[in-house]
């Protein structure tokens, strides 16, 4: 089943990463054991909510957590939702309308029009209005947040909102749990607002305002009205998060448990310690030195479910196209992450396993594997030209296994200076 699933993926998503020992969690917050405190929320890497786990495309290397949302100011009109994807590559909370059982008020702009969003991810866009909710995660609360309700049909999809991610019911968008891959997504990127300054421009293709339920038009949107990282709005522990996961073998396992820890250097369980800081350079990227190349559009991202990088020396899979299938055992590799601001470096060792072998046959469901890796660029050849134009090295979720990865938000301070930065 998994092989079929992957064959259908047209090649995306991969990773491998074999971290060090499980007790070495890096930084100062490690030391083994499960952290506790009001600033800690459990995360799980598994096959996803039931609808997805039982589908022909179960989740793999996707971190989920549980979030409680309430109508603003209410302590009774609340809903707790599991399998919300934890994503350090986006900002803000989005919930699939399909799982929402409470009523939330819409967010309006200064002229009284309802705000909606056509949010674009690389592999799919999603439409839905912005509604207000108090967001509670672990012991932390962010009041009156802008939350996108994906697939909420209260406001008609404008014709200009198109993107990858077709479903039978909507040929252009990801509007269901199965199509989206989670019950929602919690964006805890090192930014506050999701779109940022780009959406201060009129033609942003992302934010819309709706004069009526059927007339939504693209619109500039102030950052304080954009869907935003709720962590930045916590009253305490609000300068970032730590993603902490145990080591995982390349051969994979059904599920692993970890922690989402709020705040950096605000409690005894979230100290930065000796972690190496990687400030984001222009365009939000880091730099990687891999083999002979320098990849200037590198990024760390829990929302990617594999390592993605270009390496024409590793055979691609025949079944799980887009993934790597090294022969003769796992390929042991190393990449050097470079801070583009101060040139600090850190070596990352990882192993890539044969994805076709991993998912072959009747092996039980694999929700997590450190050995999955894919090609960010390679498309065989065209005539006499090889095709390898990618500068991307994506440190996806497998990179996080066996580590504490710190994410510090823009404009927020820490013992290592202001965000935005990652550290590990």
């Amino acid at each position: 089943m998994r092989a079929n699933l992957f064959a259908a993926l047209i090649g995306m998503l991969c990773v491998a990463g074999c971290g060090g020992g499980g007790s070495n969690l890096g930084g100062g917050g490690g030391g083994g054991g499960t952290p506790t405190g009001s600033n800690v929320q459990a995360i799980v890497v598994d096959s996803g909510p039931a609808k997805i786990a039982s589908s022909n495309a179960p989740a793999i290397n996707t971190a989920f957590t549980t979030v409680t949302i309430c109508a603003p100011g209410s302590t009774s009109n609340c809903q707790t939702i599991d399998h919300i994807q934890v994503d350090t590559g986006s900002s803000g909370l989005r919930i699939l309308s399909e799982v929402l059982t409470i009523t939330l008020p819409v967010q309006k702009d200064t002229t009284g029009n309802v705000i909606a969003e056509c949010v674009g991810f690389v592999d799919g866009s999603s439409w839905g209005p912005i509604r207000q909710a108090d967001v509670k995660i672990g012991g932390e609360t962010a009041l009156t947040q802008e939350v996108q309700i994906i697939g909420d049909t209260s406001y008609a999809v404008p014709s200009s909102c198109k993107g990858a991610g077709a479903t039978a019911t909507d040929p252009n968008l990801e509007e269901t749990v199965v199509a989206f891959g989670a019950n929602g997504i919690l964006g805890v990127a090192p930014y506050v607002s999701d779109c940022g300054p780009a959406c201060l421009q009129q033609n942003n293709g992302t934010y819309y305002t709706c004069a009526t339920t059927t007339t939504c038009a693209v619109s500039a949107m102030a950052e304080n009205l954009q869907v935003s990282n709720p962590v930045a709005a916590f009253t305490t522990d609000n300068n970032g998060v730590i993603i902490q996961l145990p080591s995982v073998a390349t051969s994979g396992t059904a599920a692993v448990n970890g922690s989402l820890i709020f705040g950096i250097g605000t409690q005894s369980n979230n100290m930065l310690g000796s972690a190496t800081v990687f400030n984001l350079g222009s365009g939000g990227y880091l730099t990687t030195k891999y083999k002979l190349g320098t990849l200037t559009t590198s990024f760390i991202d829990t929302g990617s479910n594999a390592w993605y990088f270009p390496d024409s020396s590793i055979p691609g899979c025949s079944t799980n196209k887009g993934f790597y299938c090294p022969t003769g055992g796992d390929a042991s590799l190393q990449a050097t992450l470079v801070n583009p601001v101060n040139n600090a470096t850190k070596l990352v060792n990882f192993s890539v396993t044969n994805a076709d072998s991993l998912f072959q046959g009747s092996k039980s469901v694999i929700g997590a594997t450190s050995g999955l890796a894919g090609d960010s660029s390679q498309f065989a050849t065209s005539g006499s030209s090889s095709i390898n134009g990618s500068n991307v090295f994506d440190y996806g979720l497998p990179f996080h296994y066996g580590k504490s990865v710190f994410v510090v938000i823009e404009g927020k301070n820490s013992s290592a200076g202001m965000g935005p930065y990652f550290a590990f």
Binding site: L5, A8, L9, I10, G11, M12, L13, S55, N56, P58, A59, N61, T62, G89, G120, V122, D123, G124, K162, G163, A164, A166, T167, P171, G181, G187, A189, Y191, C195, P197, A198, C199, Q201, N203, N204, G205, G284, Y285, L292, G293, T294, T297, F299, D301, G303, S304, A306, Y308, P310, G374, S377, F379, G383, S385, S386, N388, G389, N391, V392, G396
Partner: protein
């Protein structure tokens, strides 16, 4: 990767050096994949974009930067057809506009069930796409194999 990097430097080195560079909102403009590059000034206007053009042996590169900060580079062959596009910036480009008649193929191939949200690879007979990144930081390219100039290295598409 090394050669890709040096090729890119060559392309943009020419641009910076001002070889046949026309600055800002002059002649050629934004175009759509597979279409003529000569009839699309209206697209530039629609996008309120700025344009720089660089001529290289066998093809021309138009760099279009929209106010949002996303840059689209268009590669035009000697027949005047846009054979490749590449983008980088905080927002994805308008794919319907950028890919034109290839947009349905993009949609169709990008729509399979998937587990991740950061990478898209399409290798078709008529269209090749790779798209990476996350909110605020997107990077990718698309091209039409049959329109590539002779001996063109696709490593230059970035």
């Amino acid at each position: 990767m090394k050669s890709a990097s040096s090729n890119a430097k060559r392309v943009w080195g020419c641009l910076v050096a001002g070889v046949l560079v026309s600055q800002v909102a002059c002649l050629p403009a934004f175009a759509t994949l597979g279409e003529d590059a000569t009839t699309v000034e209206n697209d530039r206007i629609k996008l309120k974009a700025q344009v720089r053009t660089t001529a290289i042996a066998g093809y021309t590169v138009h760099e279009v930067q929209s106010p949002t900060g996303t840059t689209v580079r268009e590669f035009v062959n000697d027949s005047g057809k846009v054979f490749a596009v590449a983008w980088t910036g905080p927002l994805l480009p308008d794919f319907e506009q950028t890919l034109g008649k290839y947009f349905p193929e993009y949609i169709a191939n990008a729509s399979s069930p998937h587990v991740g949200r950061r990478h898209l690879a399409i290798q078709g007979t008529d269209l090749v796409v790779h798209s990476n990144g996350h909110m605020r930081a997107f990077y990718g390219s698309a091209y039409v194999p049959s329109l590539l100039p002779p001996n063109f290295s696709v490593q230059d598409i970035q």
